[in-house]
Symmetry: C2
Subunit: 397 residues, 2 copies
Amino acid sequence: MLSISEALVSISKALRPVGIEAVQLDAAFGRVCAQNVSALLDAPPFAASAMDGYAVRFADIADDTSPLACLDVVKAGDRDVAPLAPGTCARIFTGAPIPPGADTVVLQEQARSEGGAVSFLAGIERYRHIRAAGSNFRAGDVTAHAGRRLTARDIGLLAASGHNTLRVHRRPQAAILSTGDELSSRFRAGEGAQILDANRPALTALVAAWGGKPIDLGIAPDRPDALVHALDGVQADLLIVTGGASVGTFDLVRPALERLGFSASFRKIRMRPGKATMFGVLAGLPVLSLPGNAVAALVSALVFLKPTLSALAGLGFEEVPRDCAVLAAPLSAVGPRDTFLRGRLDRGADGRPTFTAMAMQDTAMLLGLAKAHALTIRPANAPPAQPGEMIEVIRFD
Amino acid sequence: MLSISEALVSISKALRPVGIEAVQLDAAFGRVCAQNVSALLDAPPFAASAMDGYAVRFADIADDTSPLACLDVVKAGDRDVAPLAPGTCARIFTGAPIPPGADTVVLQEQARSEGGAVSFLAGIERYRHIRAAGSNFRAGDVTAHAGRRLTARDIGLLAASGHNTLRVHRRPQAAILSTGDELSSRFRAGEGAQILDANRPALTALVAAWGGKPIDLGIAPDRPDALVHALDGVQADLLIVTGGASVGTFDLVRPALERLGFSASFRKIRMRPGKATMFGVLAGLPVLSLPGNAVAALVSALVFLKPTLSALAGLGFEEVPRDCAVLAAPLSAVGPRDTFLRGRLDRGADGRPTFTAMAMQDTAMLLGLAKAHALTIRPANAPPAQPGEMIEVIRFD
């Protein structure tokens, strides 16, 4: 059995970023930039006032407190602003171009206007309240780097730097197949005992949340031919198989994949839950097989599917970020596998997050999983842990 | 001028959750549940094995170590399982129904099968490795509460509890209008100085990221009639106006809104940046007017727009969550307004996040904003802060 780190390395070697497409900027939020993008213009495009006030030649007010005639008003959006005549000032508003000749903006709070003439308080600083042309960015400056997942702030910056379309990586298409005779996809009232498939809907949501495009392959029954049929010729960037509950199902999926030419990188991982995670390649298609148990499937998805989708999306292969939290209640010693415990995060008196493991860690407990905030990772063979110890957590969502 | 808290209270009073629609479960991720949802069935629907092993009557192995005949195999998905004859055992797999009469599952690792008979190690515990019917949830248990934003785990739980469609709040529609003669929405090469509208694209992305549906109203020029025309009859749940850069523009927007019957709850907030944030109601439509300055607009959006969209979406009005971080570099004293500083978060040696304010806090600096990880909030009139102090931060994204 591989460790989690070994498994991550093994997966990362099999992945290449998907191709590139052009999108409008208003559809680029959350997408991964496929090339460095450079500003097409300077911002601001001209020296501009940073405040509302008066544009002056500093020399006119430095030693002489007599009022200056105010002969012009300059607003944001004005073009071809007239030069400032020596010995005069101009009313100016935030964002307006500085009139040629002016070198200082005096805040309106530091000025007094009376009958067309303006006098200024002492102690004005030269060059103040002027944003130089290009002081935010210059034409040619990189405003978004290849491999960055674009935030709303990036979208604003890209718009400001002149871009309306953008080359981004496609969303990786992830086909999701559930397997297991015991599963139904739809509740039928009055039909007796039914077990409804939770994994496919949850994984569909996770794939979308993590930047992929889910493709629903439905539920395949536990018959070799039916499995081979379901697994054959899948058109996607990734195939996710989520096994039925039992070893029996697991034992059917691998032979079916192998009949189609699948080569497994690993079949089990030294973790709990999530041991029955398998990864390999089927005719160039990466295949991630997750446990059938719903909690195990979600833990394994967080640890392995999320970085897989990131790598396919062009973000690079990055482990899921771990935060620190203070343990609020004791934890018992850990067995021979890295162990994930569900729990709640609260905010401690000193402002640091605290983690309390949930009493019920049975992996069938979807209800408890939905109520948890985070997982903590306890290394294999770790001794008992006491309240106050610092532990690592992975936050959900 | 109101404080941030007073402004938030004032906004919250004007908001009502939007209406309700039915969606398929696969479109419900991230949506806000509009009613309590109860499970339609028990899970598991019958007592089921939690492991792969053997189902036994405990009495048969408690005091007697002779092997039991293994006469049956029960797999997940099997129905109408035959009762376990006394003095026999059944091979059983994870998720399979417990045969009537059996009360214990013995792990396969604790059993030895030879010629159709199975012997068991000593020390087996009664009732082990059986999940009782309904031990995850019972029909009628609430599996998602009204007002919850649905996670992937919720989607899995809702699927498991029998739901394929769901009643959720509509996505609040937020119409976004930029104003300002100085703004263009598209770069034109060779046309001289241009200032491109960053706010509308960034706000469009934020509205979508925060669960709303953006409606693009374009850019209105700084003319009273044109503004009235642009602001009149907007069909949405929220109108966001983002002012031009100057006081001049701001002074045009309010009269234009007032000509249409707008009543302002407040016009300015004691914060920096973001002072020029205004909120009110126009013929039943909540209107949030954000500063024209791009950084101020984004800070104000984080503080006011995000809770506004949450309240409209049915989540309730919640302030943006604040995390704690350790200050890594000194901060100077704060003026008379609550002050937001952009900065980077790193992870300190003790695992706690550290915050370093960016050197350049000029609010025109979109480039710096895009590189920041978080804002810190410094209360009005706060004294200088030293490295090591605990401060509050709001994380971006």
